[in-house]
């Protein structure tokens, strides 16, 4: 390795995505929204639960997308933020008897703080080093949660059991369906927030840092502030997803938040297309349904199927679902002309 690196000519950590290419058009968005609203009306409770998890992981992948696709920083440690969010919600509900909906913003704020603080040392790191530090964070998190000191609060190895909320106002729908719509509302709110964030001044600052840090600082962007801010926002959203996850699964335990989860989320982002926000839901579908299929073929094979598919994505469709969507769009365009 050379002691002197050419920074300007160096390959960027993440490929640049123009901000227009990050979202869907209004028409397509409405169709997707309509599908998401109608979907649970026709399926069984267990599938509704899976759809809820789809939205929750979608949020977590979205958060990682903002961090990586937006500001060009890596994280293999999203499971740690997810865990903190989940535990915050669970502890508030169990020990403080708080309403489930109120615990989510608190989980978000606490994770924002945690992410912002973790972003401080992460500032000095870029590329591989950052991946390494967050990788270590993710592997360390389950052990921290099992720690004897916090056992009264966290329930130690056993974890905590959370009650599933009933539909309010005596609405005649099942708990699962209520939770689905509740999650959907939160997801839409956060999606709109994210889209607007990336279109704002801060979002442009993120992208400038992603594309060329030195040029960005020369233009007067506070690189340190925006990098940590991106970490904070990403962690905050992941925390809300974690809180929702705890409510949906009704259970939190340290071993639910291992490095495997972080890898899954990372994989979801790559499959969905880095920097393409709607891809998050595609990536999330991938990480929820593919392991089920793989385990149907052979137990213990899910990791291999995961890995092989990931290599396929890297080699064949390096831009993930975004690329597929674009090709589809072009085909539709041609079809219309004819």
């Amino acid at each position: 390795m050379s002691a002197i690196q050419e920074v300007v000519t160096e390959a960027p950590a993440v490929e640049a995505v123009p901000k227009r290419a990050m979202t869907l058009g209004a028409g397509t968005s409405l169709i997707v929204l309509a599908l998401l609203i109608a979907a649970p009306l026709f399926v069984k409770n267990f599938i509704i639960f899976q759809l809820t998890m789809l939205l929750i992981y979608g949020l977590a992948v979205l958060a990682l997308n903002i961090l990586t696709g937006g500001s060009g920083q890596f994280s293999l440690g999203q499971s740690a933020f997810y865990a903190v969010g989940a535990y915050t919600s669970a502890i508030l509900m169990e020990h403080a008897g708080m309403n489930y909906a109120l615990t989510l913003p608190i989980a978000g704020v606490i994770c924002f703080g945690f992410g912002f603080l973790f972003g401080q040392p992460a500032l000095r790191l870029s590329g591989v080093y950052l991946a390494l530090a967050t990788f270590a964070l993710a592997t360390a998190m389950p052990q921290l949660l099992k720690l004897g000191y916090f056992e009264y609060w966290t329930g130690g190895v056993q974890g905590l059991v959370v009650d599933k909320p009933d539909a309010p106002l005596g609405l005649p729908i099942s708990q699962d369906m209520w939770l689905y719509y509740f999650t959907l509302a939160v997801t839409i709110a956060i999606y709109i927030f994210s889209v607007n964030l990336l279109r704002s001044r801060s979002g442009r600052a993120f992208m400038a840092i992603r594309d060329n840090e030195i040029a960005a600082s020369a233009m007067g962007i506070d690189v340190a502030l925006y990098k940590t801010l991106a970490f904070g926002v990403s962690a905050g959203i992941t925390g809300v997803a974690g809180g929702l996850g705890a409510i949906a699964v009704q259970f939190v335990a340290p071993d639910g938040y291992t490095i495997q989860l972080a890898i899954s989320l990372f994989l979801g982002m790559v499959v969905g297309g880095v920097g393409w926000l709607p891809g998050s839901i595609v990536g999330s579908a991938f990480i929820i349904f593919v392991p089920n299929i793989a385990e149907g073929i052979s137990k213990g094979l899910s990791g291999a199927v995961f890995g092989v598919l990931l290599f396929f994505v890297i080699f064949l469709v390096p831009h993930g679902a975004r690329q597929v969507a674009m090709v589809a769009q072009q085909l539709v365009g041609k079809f219309k002309k004819n």
């Binding site: 293999l76 080093y129 052990q143």
Partner: protein, 292 residues
């Protein structure tokens, strides 16, 4: 005082493992500028291969040598097939590739050999070393092998044409190509050597932690910590870092109450972050100067 000496010695012997792992990490980092997250899994797989060979009745040292050959070839094959095409891709793609490799190897090993833990033999025996109660012969053997490995690598890199070519290819690829070095194959060679060194680390630690598909995760994190502490650009630093991390881990576990086995990974995390923040180049690494 005796407790202290005891713990330092125990630290040195676990440190030998971390040193081996860190050496493998540094080898790859030197060759391609990336940290290989699948390094631990590759080592684990090699260890399983040697175990399987022994099950088939091949004596320990025979299996040892065969495994090294297999790992060396395997490392080169992985580079040629999967990572050579990614050489110019963004870092993100490479990290995704390592993660994919990690998942594949872990899962395939579990599929072939099951997730139950297995006994793994040691060639050195486990009686006390030279009549001392402090370390066993296996631990002494581990330390010896690590040091031999380091000396071997030192001679390879300093005094052979191949070693010189590898160093040239790593430090200034373009100039190296101009003087006729096949840089692409030097990278493959780096992968092969890293895989073989990882295999040695795996076979040395397996008698201590028992053989199972997830055995290397903790070791890998400590290997990373050691490599970062010693400096990612220095094989010597990696070994020193490995011993220091081993000693540090043992002393913290002994003298700070409440920090037992259950906090091993958070300690490594804290160590990595502290080093990266305070001295990013590590103890023996060259600081990276950036030219705009």
């Amino acid at each position: 005082m005796e407790l202290f000496v005891n713990q330092v010695l125990a630290g040195i012997s676990t440190g030998a493992i971390y040193a081996c792992m860190a050496l493998a990490v540094v080898m790859i980092y030197q060759a391609i500028d990336h940290l290989n997250f699948a390094q631990g899994e590759m080592a684990m797989f090699s260890t399983f291969i040697s175990w399987q060979l022994m099950q088939w009745g091949i004596p320990y040292w025979g299996a040892f040598v065969l495994t090294l050959v297999f790992s060396f070839a395997g490392g080169i094959a992985i580079e040629r097939l999967l990572f050579k095409p990614l050489a110019k891709a963004p870092i993100l793609t490479n990290v995704a590739g390592f993660i994919a490799l990690y998942a594949i190897i872990n899962s395939v090993a579990g599929l072939i050999w099951d997730f139950t833990i297995k006994q793994y033999p040691t060639p050195f025996g486990s009686s006390p070393f030279l009549g001392s109660q402090l370390i066993s012969t296996h631990q002494a053997g581990m330390i010896g092998i690590t040091i031999l490995l380091l000396i071997g690598l030192f001679f390879f890199f300093q005094f052979t044409r191949m070693g010189l070519a590898m160093r040239a290819a790593a430090s200034l690829p373009e100039s190296a190509r101009l003087v006729g070095i096949n840089t692409s194959w030097m990278i493959a060679l780096g992968w092969g050597m890293a895989a073989a060194i990882g295999a040695i680390a795996g076979m040395m630690i397996a008698p201590v932690v028992f053989l199972e598909p997830n055995m290397m995760l903790g070791v890998l994190i400590y290997g990373f910590a050691a490599a970062v502490l010693g400096g990612l650009t220095s094989p010597f630093g990696a070994v020193v870092g490995g011993f220091l991390v081993g000693i540090f881990e043992n002393l913290v576990g002994t003298y700070i109450p409440g920090v037992g086995n259950e906090l091993k990974l958070p300690i490594a995390l804290a160590l990595i972050i502290t080093v990266l923040v305070v001295k990013p180049a590590g103890l023996f690494g060259r600081p990276i100067v950036k030219r705009v």
